[in-house]
Assembly symmetry: C2
Homo-oligomer: 165 residues x 2
């Protein structure tokens, strides 16, 4: 199955999902992991379309998602950069493009390592919070925690930093 | 918003619906109406995409579908023939194409008036029954009713026909 760029844009306008997970993670300097991912979920009868998308982007993993469903999931940063580049050159036509642009900003920030600094992480969490699929309750708590610990200063004093996991 | 054929195929692979309603209808000779329709439903934020699809096919009506949703609905037979022709030249890539082919057969049969003859109507109901979105319980009852009244003969005797609404 060969896919054309326009078909991919149309299909992702319908079925794609740009998601940024923010998860507690003891091994991260600031205590949270930023996990952007691009996902397309289909009923198992259309698993071939997921493999075709995987070939198209030369990225990702096809895996189970629920009982009768599969997903193509792309998490690797270098792969997400390719996905972002593709949709920058072939813009989505639905309002999903608004979420895509936020996603693209976060992928860029993560690739610059900004999620490793308090100010950058707070900005990322704020943008993620404004995205469609984000778990608002959980993410608001994380934002409150970060703001309490680091405020909105450009660089927090060393004394505060030392208490961070 | 300009749509390319490939984008339309990709988007409809994700979001389109080919549906054939079979409804009791006292004014129809055989007591049932065959109502094929092509539908794309979107959240109200993407109503512009529905209008763009309407312009693309030069057909259909954009109308409410639930609280926050709108749909483009195409029911007019001459319009459905255009839709069928388009997807015959630009095939869907998902398994939705299986349903589309059944839909296309029914649209052709209806345009030939086959739904006005018992044998044709029974065939249409049988095909509709095998489609994804069909209400199976309701449609099976209709099929049983038609089979009981007309059996599988090519042309039922006039005596039986006179009893039909």
């Amino acid at each position: 199955m060969d896919l054309s760029p326009d078909w991919v844009v149309g299909f992702v306008d319908g079925e794609g999902c740009f998601y940024v997970g923010i998860n507690p993670h003891p091994k991260m300097t600031l205590g949270y992991q930023v996990l952007p991912e691009f996902r397309v979920v289909q009923h198992e009868r259309d698993i071939q379309v997921l493999y075709a998308l995987k070939r198209f982007f030369r990225c990702g993993v096809v895996r189970r998602n629920g009982e009768n469903r599969y997903e193509l999931r792309i998490r690797k940063l270098s792969c997400l950069q390719k996905v972002v580049e593709f949709f920058e050159h072939h813009p989505l036509k639905t309002k999903k493009n608004v979420d895509f642009k936020k996603f693209a900003r976060i992928v860029k920030w993560v690739s610059e390592g900004r999620h490793l600094e308090p100010e950058g992480l707070i900005e990322i969490v704020e943008v993620a919070l404004s995205m469609d699929r984000t778990n608002k309750v959980k993410t608001k708590k994380i934002l409150a925690d970060l703001q309490q610990r680091y405020g909105r200063r450009d660089s927090p004093p060393q004394a505060e930093m030392s208490g961070v996991r």
